[in-house]
Each structure stands twice: as C-alpha cells, then as structure tokens.
C-alpha cells in the first residue's frame, strides 16, 4: 500500500517537471478578425510551407449565420482545423458547415475536426483531393513535422453547385471557376458584398502556379472583377476593399507568363529561367522567390511546347 502511494507521489512529482517542448501540443494562436459584418478572417503568413510556420500560410474565412459559422477553407493540419472549430464553437454559435475552395492541402487538411458537420466542395475538387491525399500527406509530414501529427485526410463529402445558396439566413452565391487549379470556388456574400475568393486572388503574396492555367485564370479574374465586390478575402494575403488583389494577381500572372514564354523562346534552360529570378516588380512579394522557382518547374514545359517546333519522331 505504502509502496503504491510512494509510486503515486513520485509520479506526481514527475508531472511538475517541465515537459520537453516537442511533447507539447502545437498551438498556432490563430487570430480571427471581423473584416465585415459577420465575416471573420484568419490571415495566414505570406510564406510557403515550412517547419517554422507549421502550415499557417493560408487564409480562412468564417461567416456567421443563424445556425453557426460557415467555415471556408480549413487550414493545413488537424490542429489548425481544431483551432478554427474552437473559435466557431465559442464565438459564433457552433459550426453549420465547411467549404473547401479547391484541392490544395492548405485549404482542406484541417477538415477532420470539422467533419461532424457537412463538408462541401465542387465535385471536381473532392475527386482531386481523394486522388492526391496520400501524396500531399507524405509531403506535408516531411515538411511540417509534429505540427501535422494526427491529421487524417478527409476530403469533402458534400457537393457545392453553382448559384445562390441560403445557409442559416445568409445568402451566398457560389461561383465555380478555374485557373488556379482545374476547379476553384469563389463565394460572394450577398449581404455584405464580400467575396471569398479562394486562391484565385492573392495580395502581396506570390501566386502559386503549379496547377495553373494562365488564360483560364485571367478569365476568372475578369469574372470576379465584374462582380464588383465590396471587399475581398483572398486565399493568401490581407483583406482589402478596393480591387488591388485582383489587379495584382492579374499583373503577376501576365508578367510571369511572359517571362517564361520569353525564356523558352530565347532557348534558355529552366535552370537559367530560375536563376534570373521573378519579374523584378514582384520579387519582394511574400513566398517569392520560392513560388517563382516552383512555377518554372511546373509551367516551363507549357511554354516550351510552343517555342519548340516538331522536327521528327519515332
């Protein structure tokens, strides 16, 4: 008896010692800000994935409704999703549903802690999420380390369709577009005129082009501009009221497309195109030059197909 009591006491003493830092649950300390009436935004760092930022690189929107928060994009890890969920539960009366704007993992790897309520996406997005879940998980576990512990990949199971949709007294217009990826959803809140643009709009953070189609993306930006939004929650970068995000994203796409096309037409190797760096005007954007280097690897071949004529075959 006394032995087990001593053991218990010893155990209690051990618990008072400081735990090594790696054993503590990682906390992001996400800070939602109300950017318009009932529209909250968590702004991610303007960086690429690193072990230091733990994947806190993406914007998340929470739209307050009568039935709780509608979360748009769930972050890069289960821990991010859990912090988003906690805010919805504590401040916005719970969670009504989650929407993933597209298939890149920073926009849906936080789904699991939200998945007891509907998780929705364009059908093409859910399919691509399922296809790449394993690849993304391996990549992110390698980069993010313990930040991503416990993250299960849970692609959306419900479908978003084009057009108006009323959720908890809030009317939203679902706008399926493409260009950043093959399926990009933008959401316009009718009451405030705020556009939740997903990764079709970046501001002061270099756009990510691995799955991009320049022409389609530029056309999508024209569509978004035509909506005349009163404010924009971009996928990455700060909330803004004027059209600066759409304008900057458009300028970046055109300039980067032209730079890659010129490099291919001059006969440069992708290495030389990389070494030259981004268009100088955009070299200082967050996540550059990393995003520019990725763009060369992923997009140079498109331009080379145009620059190199067919001269033979098997």
């Amino acid at each position: 008896m006394s032995l087990s009591r001593r053991a218990l006491l010893a155990g209690a003493a051990v618990l008072t010692l400081p735990l090594p830092i790696f054993a503590q649950p990682r906390r992001y300390g996400l800070q939602p800000i109300e950017v318009a009436d009932g529209i909250w935004m968590i702004e991610g760092r303007r960086e690429v994935f690193t072990r230091e930022n733990g994947g806190d690189i993406v914007n998340v929107a929470l739209l307050a409704t009568d039935q709780g928060a509608l979360v748009v994009d769930s972050g890069s890890t289960a821990a991010m999703g859990a912090e988003i969920r906690a805010f919805a539960d504590q401040r916005l009366g719970g969670l009504v549903a989650t929407i993933n704007t597209h298939h890149h993992p920073d926009h849906w790897f936080g789904n699991a802690p939200l998945a007891d309520r509907p998780v929705l996406a364009l059908a093409a997005t859910s399919a691509t999420c399922r296809e790449y879940a394993q690849d993304y998980a391996e990549t992110l576990y390698a980069i993010l380390g313990s930040w991503i512990s416990g993250t299960r990949t849970m692609p959306a199971t419900g479908e978003v369709e084009a057009g108006p949709r009323a959720i908890g007294g809030r009317t939203l217009r679902m706008i399926p577009l493409a260009g950043h990826t093959a399926a990009d959803l933008a959401i316009l809140d009718e009451a405030t005129g705020v556009l939740v643009a997903g990764d079709l709009v970046f501001l002061d953070r270099a756009p990510s082009l691995p799955d991009a189609d320049f022409a389609t993306w530029l056309a999508a930006l024209d569509r978004l501009e035509g909506l005349g939004p009163a404010g924009v929650v971009p996928g990455h970068g700060r909330f803004h009221r004027a059209g600066e995000g759409i304008a900057q994203t458009r300028a970046y796409l055109r300039a980067t497309r032209d730079r890659l096309a010129m490099a291919a037409d001059l006969g440069l190797t992708p290495i030389e195109a990389m070494a030259a760096g981004p268009v100088p005007e955009f070299a200082g954007l967050g996540a550059n030059p990393e995003e520019y280097l990725r763009s060369v690897v992923r997009r140079f071949g498109d331009h080379e197909t145009l620059a190199l004529p067919v001269v033979g075959g098997a």
Binding site: A263, L268, I271, E272, A275, A276, L308, G312, G313
Partner: protein
C-alpha cells in the same frame, strides 16, 4: 559566360542559383563521402587523379518541386583542357549512373532533368585530356533536397489511356546566335521499378552535322526524366546548322529529327 540568365529583363544579380564547391555542393558532408568513393570506383574506374573543381559548375534548385522532374545544368566551359566525357551520377538513387556526355565538337554544357528517389547530390565528373587515362577528373556537384518517389512511381503517361499517342514526338530548335540547341522527346522513361511496368527508357542520343558526322553523344540511363528535355551548346560553325538528332531506347525504338539553323 556560357549562361543566358542575363537575357531575361531584370535578371537577379547575383543569380538565384549559383555553383558551389566542397561540402556546400553535396549537402553539408565532406565532398569525398557517402556513396561517392564507391561511385568513383564503379563509374570512373577508380582514378587516382580527381578533384572537386569550381570550373565544373552544376546548377540545380535547392529543393525538388517535382521528384519526377528535377532540372540541372552542367557548365564545364570554364575548364581549360579538352573534355573527353562527363559522367553524371546521383549519390542516392537506385540507378546512380544517369548520363555519360561526350561533348565531342560541342561545348561541355548540358541541360537535362532527372528523377530523384531521395534527397542527395548529383555529380558531374569531367574527364580531361585527349586520350583515355591521360588526364584527370574534375568533379562538380549540386545538392537537391527531395521527398522522393521519382524513380519508383509510374510515368505520368500511364495515367492516360492514350499514352502511346505522341510517343517519340521530337521537338527541337537551334539558336545560331547563342549556339543553343534544345530538344524534347516524348518518352515514358520507365525505370522498371513501378509495379507491372517494364523498363522502357532511352539508351543513346547523338547530334550529327550536315555530313552525318557525330558532333556530340549521350549515353542515357533510367534516371532521365519522362519526356526528357536536353540543352546543348554548339560552336558558331555548327550552330549555323543543320543538325540531325538520333536516339534509341532499350526496346529498339529509334527516333530521328533535324533542326535547321540560320536560313
């Protein structure tokens, strides 16, 4: 300077990618460590005379965005002596020997892409001297961090039902003013490591002049990327063209094309 980086307006200065020597070229360990002693023995014939030399520049991005397509550029045009061949090896790969480049009458510059199975250095070993055994080996390297899988994953072509369509298509262009020749060949470059997909990859590629005489030749192995793109640098007389391109793969397919230079 053989590189064209400055051709782009507002090119970064210094360039974002620069050559490195010593431990920085191979990821932090001593240059002569890891698989290198073994590869030197197996693929270079265990030469007594070799050294890491800054005249053999190997450029690569610090991290692989896509393990199936990791771009490299080898520039040995700063080497004073003639170069017989450049042996390209990858420190940690199921197929360490990637390319043997015999520049011949071309300049010793080669752009290419490879598959990476795991992070590590790619080394370019240039054998100098006009005769075998007469010279020494000058070695450059670049380290790339990669998450891997590039060699063991099926080629992207196999995800499409029509993967054979366009097989062997050869695109190329010659720029007489800079001496550049760039080509791209549609080929799955299967390593044989993906389940149920036999090895099917290029084994050789050569450039020939108007008279049919060889300009330069490549011996190619499994790590070369799918739909490989290659860059050569030709001296002004050959860069006027025309240049014929000939290639073969391990299943006996032959590929041929021809680029014209200045009109």
């Amino acid at each position: 300077m053989a590189l064209l980086t400055d051709r782009l307006p507002g090119a970064a200065s210094p360039p974002l990618l620069t050559g490195r020597t010593g431990p920085a070229a191979v990821g932090g360990d001593a240059f002569d460590s890891g698989m290198w002693p073994s590869h030197r023995q197996e693929f270079l014939g265990d030469p007594a005379a070799w050294r890491n030399d800054p005249a053999v520049t190997v450029l690569a991005p610090p991290a692989a965005e896509d393990s199936s397509h990791v771009p490299f550029l080898i520039d040995a045009t700063a080497v004073a002596q003639p170069i017989r061949r450049i042996v390209v090896t990858i420190d940690y790969s199921p197929f360490p020997k990637a390319i043997v480049f015999r520049p011949g009458r071309a300049l010793p510059l080669l752009g290419f892409g490879v598959k990476y199975e795991v992070g590590g250095a790619l080394r370019a070993s240039a054998e100098t001297g006009a005769e075998t055994g007469a010279g020494e080996w000058l070695v450059g390297a670049a380290y790339v961090s990669a998450l891997g899988g590039g060699c063991s994953a099926p080629a992207a072509a196999h995800h499409r039902p029509d993967w054979q369509q366009g097989f062997g298509e050869l695109r190329a262009r010659l720029w007489p003013e800079t001496g550049r020749l760039r080509l791209r060949l549609r080929h799955p470059q299967d390593t044989g490591l993906a389940d149920g997909i036999p090895a099917h990859h290029l084994t050789e590629l050569a450039l020939l002049d108007a008279a049919g005489a060889e300009i330069a030749a490549l011996e190619l192995h499994e790590p070369l990327e799918e739909n490989p793109a290659l860059t050569f640098l030709l001296p002004p007389d050959l860069a006027r063209g025309p240049v014929a391109i000939r290639a073969r793969d391990n299943l006996g397919y032959a590929f041929a094309g021809r680029v014209e230079g200045a009109p």
